[in-house]
């Protein structure tokens, strides 16, 4: 049995404003083992980023509240971590790559400074010369010439900036890397380069990764496990083969696949899920997806479905009434 690294139990996150309460994450359960890559897939507003921010303890103060649940990293419960503990964790044990490399670097500091900053914070005994040598090594690792380390972010292209962001995130060789849409802002050929780099580094450093994306193509390329999120819940989860090759799927997952134009077939019309994501301040009763579901039954409107395993190995789970009896 693989060793557990991250375990999220029954996590509920809300954003409280004066007018309403936004239920961003509802009863989320998730496990990531050491060295594993889990793809968290969903549309805008599904709660993917909120889940990652709760792990990073970066939820906005005052408004973003973890109502219930536990996030365990190795044996530490980070939901109750103090400010001091959080600082030790961030960048050192967990780090995060954000979506937009253009805005996630400080434009007034050199690339060397920004990478060395993480090291200086977490590896206090490193001497200045060592730091500089380590920065060179890291830059080489992400495929950038160390000779350019004295340059500023604006002197780099988008793909190179994302390499710098990856360098910062991996500087302390964290155990868990949260990557929030790391290639969405990049061109396809650059995306292919960055994904290849991430795959190589992950193997080399044995880092586990939570990859947040809306692109099932990226998932097929890089992930070991997949969780599909809808309205703050995981509605289907499994090994990569379960999601891409099994014949049992949540209707929403089917809709996601049907919305992508298939290159191998000539289809005249796409067959997407109609309608929109429900309003997170006013979630429907029963199954959150029932309003848009093509296979909606009476029970779906009133009763929340339970989680069912579709196979004997218990790797593939679906949260849908369709699977409640026979499987």
């Amino acid at each position: 049995m693989a060793e557990r690294l991250l375990e999220i139990k029954d996590l509920n996150v809300v954003y409280e404003t004066d007018e309403s309460v936004v239920h961003a994450v509802n009863n989320l359960n998730l496990v990531i083992n050491k060295g594993e890559t889990l793809g968290l897939v969903g549309e805008t507003g599904a709660g993917k980023t909120t889940a990652a921010l709760s792990i990073m303890k970066l939820l906005p103060d005052k408004t973003g509240i973890i109502k219930r649940g536990e996030i365990g990293l190795e044996n530490i419960n980070i939901t109750i971590a103090t400010k001091y503990d959080k600082r030790l964790l961030r960048g050192n044990v967990i780090s995060m790559i954000f979506q937009d490399p253009m805005t996630s670097l400080n434009p007034t500091l050199t690339v060397e400074y920004q990478i060395a900053e993480v090291l200086a914070l977490h590896k206090k005994d490193m001497k200045k010369a060592e730091l500089s040598k380590r920065v060179d090594e890291i830059l080489e690792m992400v495929g950038l010439p160390p000779s350019r380390k004295h340059e500023y972010p604006h002197q780099f292209s988008g793909g190179m900036k994302q390499r710098v962001v990856i360098a910062i995130a991996l500087a302390c060789e964290p155990k868990l890397l949260l990557a929030d849409e790391p290639t969405t802002a990049l061109d396809v050929t650059i995306q292919a380069q960055i994904l290849k780099l991430m795959k190589e580094l992950k193997e080399k450093l044995d880092t586990a990764m939570l990859l947040i994306t809306h692109d099932l193509g990226v998932v097929a390329e890089i992930c070991d496990k997949v969780a599909i999120m809808y309205a703050g819940q995981i509605i289907e989860q499994g090994m990569i083969e379960d999601i891409f090759e099994s014949k049992y799927h949540h209707p929403y997952t089917e809709g996601l696949f049907d919305a992508i134009p298939d290159l191998s077939k000539k289809t005249k019309r796409l067959n997407p899920v109609e309608g929109l994501m429900p309003d997170p301040t006013d979630l429907p009763t029963g199954c959150f997806f029932h309003v848009r579901c093509r296979k909606c039954m009476d029970i779906c409107k009133t009763k929340e479905p339970e989680i069912k395993w579709t196979n004997a190995d218990k790797t593939h789970l679906i949260k849908c009434h369709l699977f409640n009896d026979n499987k």
Binding site: D187, A220, P261, L276
Partner: protein
């Protein structure tokens, strides 16, 4: 032979910068026939949006001709242009930035009608607005909403309704679905294809997403640093890509299944080079895996290697 609805001849758009001329669009020849869709694909900075904007004169061309039904619209004066704009419309990429936040949905859709004065009777205008909203699938109750109250998919429908308001013949779609989620993207693509079937619109569809472009286009043109490097029918281009850059682009598509997961893919190295004062020769040469000396120093011919299949690469210059 049938006359194309839109044709460009050696169209160029240079921007002056302090370091020299930036060749955003550099000698594009294209033809789009009535009721067809031309997809224009390329990575950021290849000049695809500039091409679209130059064709409908949101930007003034540096050189070349744009023929609409055989007439060069670059010679048109203000009045003539106002007239021809009814027939040529554009849908913009970002439904968040392309709608005036201080105008209601109906005001946005009505604006082109008011500007061109094709309908002046207020009752008729209101009727037209509700027709248009119906066509693009916007609920009547949204008529007095402001853009910020709506989600991206609905906003893009407003952008489409606005483009359709004057019954244009030719619509430039500049990445109309890139900012949207997949299921919304599919809804909008379906809508656009239905409209084409019903009304016979002609589209120029600009995008960086290859699976979308294959889905919607009859013909595809691939651009690299301001130049067209390959053009063919949609099926032909995907089955038989000739230019190394097209091959690299197609190779970089991530398909949502596991068939190509463990394949060792050829990934094109490097990044797009500087479009300022480019030297003669193939602009893809520095990244090309088949680089030869012939690639530089001379302009590469844009050659028809098969019927309707054009490519500019020395590999096919026999």
């Amino acid at each position: 032979m049938e006359q194309p609805l839109i044709e460009t001849k050696n169209l160029k758009k240079y921007f002056q910068t302090s370091e020299g001329n930036l060749h955003a669009v550099d000698g594009i020849n294209l033809k789009i026939f009535k009721g067809k869709t031309l997809g224009v694909v390329g990575e950021s900075g290849c000049g695809k949006s500039t091409l679209g904007r130059t064709i409908i004169r949101l930007l003034e061309a540096t050189e070349g001709e744009v023929l609409f039904k055989g007439n060069n619209i670059l010679d048109y004066g203000f009045e003539e242009m106002l007239n021809i704009r009814k027939d040529m419309q554009i849908i913009f990429q970002d439904p968040y930035a392309s709608l005036n936040p201080r105008m209601t949905v109906s005001e946005i859709i009505v604006e082109p009608i008011k500007v061109s004065r094709i309908i002046t009777n207020n009752n008729k205008i209101n009727k037209k607005v509700s027709e248009l909203m119906d066509t693009v699938g916007l609920a009547k109750r949204l008529v007095n909403s402001y853009p910020h109250e709506l989600d991206g998919g609905r906003r893009q429908r407003i952008g489409i309704a606005r483009a359709l308001a004057l019954n244009p013949e030719f619509i430039i779609c500049d990445e109309p679905v890139s900012a949207l989620d997949v299921s919304i993207q599919a809804q909008i693509l379906n809508l656009m294809m239905d409209l084409q079937d019903e009304e016979g619109y002609t589209y120029m569809f600009i995008t960086h997403d290859l699976s979308v472009v294959k889905h919607i286009s009859d013909e595809i043109m691939v651009m690299y640093l301001g130049q067209a490097i390959e053009q063919a029918s949609s099926d032909e281009l995907f089955e038989n890509p000739l230019h190394p850059y097209t091959q690299a682009l197609l190779g970089a598509i991530l398909v949502p299944n596991l068939s190509r997961r463990n394949e060792n893919k050829e990934i094109v190295r490097g990044e797009v080079t500087n479009p300022i004062s480019p030297k003669p020769g193939c602009r893809f040469a520095p990244r090309c895996p088949y680089f030869k000396e012939d690639c530089l120093g001379q302009e590469i011919e844009y050659k028809e290697v098969d019927k309707g299949h054009f490519v500019s690469c020395v590999l096919y210059n026999k």
